[in-house]
Symmetry: C2
Subunit: 241 residues, 2 copies
């Protein structure tokens, strides 16, 4: 079965968490909106959101078509993929834990988004710049350390260089933590240089993920969109304190 | 087995979504932080967040202790409870769909929260009042209609007065939609009076949930905390336009 991923082309955004899991799984998939032709592009994605003829219409991208299933919400897609591709624990307890961590990361992703759009996604960044400054400064000083400190605490229980968030085995949550570190470094390089010093285990995990053959090949490919100021992680110098 | 729910006492907040599911399930549970004595109160909750001796420490309340399991993140708790208490579909496809809807509601809950705290939870409402006004006005005009319109569209496929979000059977997502309508009415009564006219199916579902014997008994009990200006849904007149 070939999966169809539907997400905005040319940004990493929330879709990137799904792409990383598909890539690490070695899954057969097509990133529909990046394809040309009558069945590709953004129109193909919008048809699902319109939802008239779809049993389970998603509220927003990303969503994944897996045979007849259409699955929305990033963490929900990963819940599904993780079980199928050995990227989640076997036990119920382990699966709930990994999903819980993914949902906590989803909260962080929303907070990252709101640093540059604290008022509304309906307004340009330039129209909420003052508010963004205020929100981002608090985010950098209190929220990044709190979230990364939480994941660090979990990882610090195991041995650096061999342990993962779920214990001895890789899961989709580890791939997501890699992406969070990547994104935070892009958006807040000055702050992260400072914060990373207290998150040695998390950074070690990030580096191990980056070195995995399939992830390394993906990162070097043109399937990985570059970070830019259209996505979730945006670099605005005045927000990085 | 007696479940232990850990959430801030005296507010509905995110914990209320879990309480409603536990109540509808007729589950045996204790709301730990509302209990007096050495094993109750907020200190009992904080011990878990400190997390030194806990295998899977939650990032934040609510979390549920189910035997030896400690499960965090509202939607994750409902995923667990829904399967065990017949409040989720039997099929994988149905379960993913209900979870997807719950996660979409979780996004809405976060947006509700940020109407009164658009800059940071570290500041009082009074210290972000101007920003709150701007955010709330956009939220009321564009986001409530978008979210409720989405759930309305799903419900409008079935027959009013008999159908649920997942089809013919009640699920935890229906209980959550009930709570969203309750909360939005409390926080934004003027806006909701206007918006509800376009959401007849959603309001009908809300009314059917309210009339269910166990839910009605719960709502009339002192186990249901009242809405107030400490929770997620807060009524500030200037935000309700």
């Amino acid at each position: 079965m070939r999966y169809e991923l539907y997400y905005w082309p040319s940004i990493q955004g929330r879709g990137e968490f799904v792409r990383l899991t598909l890539e690490e799984a070695g899954a057969d998939y097509v990133d529909v909106a990046t394809q040309s032709g009558p069945r590709g592009g953004v129109p193909a994605l919008l048809r699902f959101l319109d939802g008239r003829s779809i049993q389970h219409p998603p509220f927003a991208p990303p969503f994944l078509k897996a045979g007849r299933l259409v699955i929305g919400q990033t963490a929900n897609i990963l819940l599904y993929l993780g079980e199928r591709h050995g990227l989640a624990p076997e036990t119920e307890s382990g699966r709930l834990w990994i999903h819980q961590l993914q949902l906590t990361m989803a909260d962080l992703v929303q907070e990252v988004h709101d640093t540059h759009h604290p008022i509304s996604t309906n307004f340009y960044y330039e129209d909420q710049r003052m508010e963004a400054r205020r929100r981002a400064h608090d985010f950098v000083r209190t929220r990044i350390p709190k979230y990364l400190g939480y994941f660090e605490k979990i990882l610090a229980r195991g041995r650096k260089s061999t342990s993962y968030l779920g214990g001895p085995s890789l899961s989709y949550a580890d791939l997501s933590l890699f992406q969070l570190v990547e994104g935070l470094r892009y958006a807040f390089p000055r702050a992260m240089a400072r914060i990373e010093r207290k998150c040695r285990h998390a950074i070690d995990l990030h580096d191990r993920i980056a070195a995995r053959p399939r992830i390394a090949a993906y990162l070097a490919s043109d399937r990985r969109p570059p970070f830019n100021e259209e996505g979730i992680f945006r670099h605005y110098r005045e927000l990085d304190v």
